[in-house]
Amino acid sequence: MLKIKNLKANIEGKEILRGINLEIKPGEVHAIMGPNGSGKSTLASVLAGRDIFEVTEGTVEFNGKNILDMSPEDRSCEGIFLAFQYPVEIPGVSITNFIKAAVNSHRKYRGLDPMPPAEFLKLMKEKKALVEIESKLTNRSVNTGFSGGEKKKNEIFQMAMLEPKLAILDETDSGLDIDALRIVANGVNALKTKDNASLVITHYQRLLDYIVPDFVHVLYNGRIVRSGGKGLALELEEKGYDWIKE
């Protein structure tokens, strides 16, 4: 599904990604761990198409298509979803309008008419229940004044609405209390099928207790320096990163 080959990316002339190789197949869950500043969010942003990063080398194929030349919106419509580490506040734009625009953009991309309002409301209700977000929240402006946990739940709610093929979750667990963590993780698991995949960026094993990865990778200094099974995460939890940095 996703094939990243020797991906290098800069920001302001500084190389952040220094040759990433990664392949993700349908049905798989991959976790990426690594010290602060190692380039995890950068990788996620580059995959989603953030243009402040300049890709200098390498290729990224998604379901056989080269996505590096695609706009962020087209990547989204192709099925890539990024749950942001720091979701942006957008005053004046209600979640309902925002998600309606997103859903209908996806439909348009597939040659479908906008979703009928009744169907849309039903879908919203269903997906809100999945991540247990308060009904009122969706009338509010996107992320504006939301608590840390509400912002993260809102990301998963959007994911549920858009049903991506590849979900990239960038520290979705940070800022969540124990109950919220369970709710969010259950939400992610409920959306899991044999055809979609996830890339979970996290610092903590506790998320991986819920969302069990097939592969764990360690990103350090712009490269994947180690890959393994779910045991690798436990090892990291125990030993920290020093032994990998050597």
Partner: protein, 428 residues
Amino acid sequence: MQNKEEIKKLNILSAFNNDFPFLAGSRLKSQAFDFYKNNQFPNLKDEGWRQTNLSSIFNTDYKEQKASGISLKNEFYNIENLQANTLVFINGFYAEEYSIIISKNLIVGSIQNLTKKQKELFNRYFESTGVLSENNFTALNTAFAHDGAFIYVDKNQQITEPVHIVNINSSGESILAQTRNLVVVERNSSVQIIESYLSENIKNTFTNVVTEIIAGENAQINWIRIQKEAENAKQMNHLKVIQNANSNFSCNTITLSGTLVRNNIHVNMNGEGSFCNLYGLYLTGNKQLVDNYTFVNHAVPHCESRQVYKGIIDDEASAVFFGKVLVAKDAQKTNANQSNKNILLSENARINSKPQLEIYADDVTCSHGSTTGQLDKEALFYLQSRGISKEKARGMLLYGFVSEILNKIENENVRNEVDKWVKHILGE
């Protein structure tokens, strides 16, 4: 630079030999005319006009022109689903055939039509705000305007149907359109007034409007101005308000078009316990200049005023917000705040924002602030990353920015209509 020479080129004196009928021979008329002769138009050296280049108004041979033979469709000026008393003025002249009065419990019509029947009322309030000597534009208007709306709400009347004052310019020549409005709302009464400016096939128009508003004790006035003239239209607008005790004046100025638009709003809070809300929205592009000047005079204690102006400025356009709040020495417990926020969409867009507080009392709560920024790139990416096209995302963000002002429009039908236009302009 302007000087007397250039100002003469406005040529209004030769064009306007028709008297404002009810002022003919009156003291006010000669007073206005004297003021006009003895003073210059405001220029770049005058406080409050330093950012306002008026040169495009001058150097033109304006005519006055009664529009004849034009036919307007209702959809052109009506607001969808709005049941309103509608007064239509074309090029500054009352167009009775398009106007309609539905409310029974108020006096409403064109000044010319009402002046005989309501002479006493009219004389009691006309020029009671002293607007003629604000500057040469108001003097010019007082001396030569032909007509305008006269709205009188007697005490204890809640007017359910709003009054819609429609101003349309339509001419293939250079014209000066002047209307003069007088609105009096007596105690315990309320009314909603919509003022819209439109144009059709214009070449070069200059609209010079003056409105006086008197809010009686405990009166509620909700005012909405929608400026949606053609790209090349020029407009000078003066609104002067007197608020008596416990009155509420709320005004929303929406400027969507015009090459030069200046809105002066001058509110005298003369009665304790009054509220004044001034909201404004301007969407400017090309080489437009939109200039909002407000002056809120807290003359007495226990009043509250609030101003929120927001603008989006694109291309080589510029905008000015000059807001002044004056709190008199005895005006204790005044609560006043002002905020002006702008988004600049291009490198050549300009904003001059100057909220000002001048406070002589010591027990007050006052604040002011001004921010200017660009479109939030992270927010743009966030929306795009959900599949929303860049264009649509941009529109949504801009709309989100201005929605605060749109939401202040109390009348639902007007809000929906303005909403539609704003969305259209912003590509939302």
